[in-house]
């Protein structure tokens, strides 16, 4: 069984960073606001989901490094242009100079650019690149990636197979999208002033001969606790909690549960014991179990994987 699966948590301020680190995160990921943008950003998330100032970023990094925690810098914008390239470079350098430990990149040309910048930092290929197979892993390795963030919807056997590609894999543990992230245009949490909610989890009137109100686009998978022993055995290098811009108290509690469950698995507990612990500690977790929103177990959501 592996010993190196980092628990990775989101941060968008010093307070959230301190919260998830104190709760047991081994690695945090964050973006930095950029004044060239109002609602959008170069971090793959919009306004309100990023650290506000470079000074705050420096303080987070110092706090993290004092505790042996790795800081990944999200520069995974899915769009870039010749005109924005200088802004992007400056933004990357701001993080590098502040002392981040790795760069998360989400666009193919940007991946090449960051590699050419020779920052000396590892480059992680973002979920926005939709890396579903070993052919794409080879491409990203050629472009300088040292870790691949796999899509939200992967089967355990696929992760196992991809783990043989000779590169670190990061996968999603808690929360995530219904659709293939890098192809989805149902954009939310990007600084909008209208309440779109989460469009893929909405109720729709399904028309035609059906005429039924149904959350038909909701394929959200929210939990991976029961799969932790398998993920450790496979050798996944990081288990990621989604949640930049989300309720910090909730994220802290989730990180605490995952920390404890990873430690239980490392000490030999099986999936059943881990689940029992989580339900005893956080009875509300029962809701997730009842909804069968398991990321890596067989459910009606995974049964529908193409």
């Amino acid at each position: 069984m592996g010993e190196e699966m980092n628990l990775m948590a989101p941060a968008d301020s010093f307070e959230t960073a301190r919260g998830v680190i104190d709760s047991g995160a081994d690695e945090i990921y964050l973006g930095l606001e950029n004044r060239n943008f109002v609602n959008l950003n170069l971090s793959g998330r919009g306004r309100g989901c990023n650290v506000n100032t470079r000074q705050e970023l420096v303080e987070i990094i110092e706090f993290a490094h004092e505790r042996g925690v790795i800081v990944d810098y999200a520069v995974n914008t899915p769009f870039l242009s010749d005109e924005l390239e200088e802004i992007f470079i400056t933004h990357v350098v701001a993080g590098v100079d502040a002392g981040v430990d790795a760069l998360i990149v989400g666009e193919l040309g940007a991946m090449q650019l960051v590699s050419e910048m020779e920052t000396g930092l590892p480059v992680h290929a973002s979920v926005l690149l939709n890396t579903f197979n070993c052919g794409q892993i080879e491409l990203l390795k050629d472009l300088g990636a040292s870790k691949i963030v796999l899509p939200f919807k992967m089967e355990l056997d696929e992760i196992r197979e991809l783990s043989g590609c000779g590169i670190d894999l990061e996968i999603f543990g808690q929360f995530g999208c219904s659709n293939i992230n890098g192809t989805c245009h149902l954009i939310h949490s990007a600084g909008e002033t209208i309440n779109l909610g989460i469009p893929c989890r909405a109720n729709y009137l399904v028309g035609g001969g059906v005429q039924r109100v149904h959350p038909i686009l909701d394929a959200g998978t929210d939990c991976s606790l029961c799969s932790i022993p398998d993920l450790l055995e496979i050798g996944v290098s990081a288990l990621k909690i989604v949640g930049r811009g989300m309720n910090p108290e909730m994220i802290r509690e989730i990180v605490q549960i995952y920390r404890k469950c990873i430690d239980l698995a490392l000490s030999g507990s099986d999936a059943g014991a881990i689940r029992d612990y989580a339900l005893a500690e956080e009875p509300i977790w029962q809701l997730l179990c009842e909804q069968k929103r398991c990321k890596y177990l067989k459910t009606n959501i995974s049964d529908s994987y193409v």
Partner: protein
């Protein structure tokens, strides 16, 4: 050039009949395959049969986003196709791993790997406060970025496919490679967990029968992040949220924009229309 595309291979003869009846000056191709679903790959026999039809200028094979469990099969399939030497075959690739690892003659990059943003139904709200240069960058195609374009060309890409949306096609006109534009419906998202299969409680590939025509989706209640519950959409949301169309594991929105000037061709997804419709005649006005 017009391409009539389908994933329902029982329609091939019907589409051929539409092409013959239309008597167009412009060439018409038939496209087979899905951008997002591996279970809709055409059989080699259907591909060869379509290529041999006298009424077409050739056949297009659309290959989908390819999860690892289908990866070897997809590569073997493409190898088999390559060995056949089908004349006037064009292959559209929607997966970077397939593009990188398979030897495909002059591949076309499909919407699964060409990033655009205008298919966000509320893109103007997202961009409302941004500067002009940020808007321009956001609304172009990923291949307008020179580095990304060079990488695609390095993998042999000679053309791309995009949605026929006004700002996307305007940006695509600046590219130095042919662009094929999808008429009528823009892709809003692809899903790995097929929404159609899940809704009908049929596992792929047994769900194929439900992919004959799209399902219309009208927003009734948002999922509110504050209350973590459903709530009626307010007027502002209702104004920007369009009717969505679900076909298999792809979500679309309608687009009435039809100025394809500058595009090398226009693609019509026949599965979104009744085959007897006059869609081809409408298309003839675009080329």
């Amino acid at each position: 050039m017009i391409e009539l595309r389908t994933c329902n291979y029982s329609k091939i003869d019907e589409i051929a009949g539409v092409i013959e009846d239309a008597d167009l000056d412009s060439g018409v191709r038939i496209g087979l395959g899905s951008e997002g679903c591996v279970h809709k790959l055409p059989s080699v026999e259907d591909l060869v049969r379509t290529a041999d039809l006298d009424c077409t200028w050739g056949v297009t094979l659309v290959t989908p986003i390819t999860p690892q469990k289908h990866y070897d099969r997809m590569r073997a399939y493409l190898g088999e196709i390559a060995d056949l030497g089908i004349r006037d075959l064009r292959i559209v690739v929607n997966d970077l791993g397939i593009l990188h690892s398979c030897e495909i003659d002059r591949p076309v990059a499909g919407r699964g790997i060409v990033h655009t943003s205008e298919a966000c139904p509320w893109v103007d709200h997202i961009l409302r406060d941004e500067s002009d240069y940020v808007r321009d960058a956001y609304l172009q195609t990923s291949l307008n970025y020179a580095r990304t374009s060079a990488l695609f060309k390095g993998m042999g890409v000679e053309a791309i496919e995009i949605d026929l949306l006004p700002r996307t096609i305007a940006a695509a006109r600046r590219l130095t490679m042919p662009v094929y534009a999808h008429f009528g419906y823009a892709v809003v998202a692809y899903a790995r967990s097929c929404h159609t299969a899940r809704f009908h409680q049929k596992m792929p590939p047994e769900c194929a029968q439900f992919c004959d025509s799209p399902m219309e989706l009208t927003l009734r209640e948002i999922f509110d992040l504050e209350s973590l519950g459903f709530a009626p959409p307010d007027a502002d949301v209702a104004e920007v949220f369009p009717t969505l169309y679900l076909l298999g594991n792809a979500i679309y929105m309608k687009s009435d924009f039809c100025d394809a000037a500058g595009a090398a061709g226009v693609i019509v997804n026949c599965d979104m229309y009744a085959p007897s419709s006059k869609i081809l005649y409408e298309m003839a006005t675009l080329v």
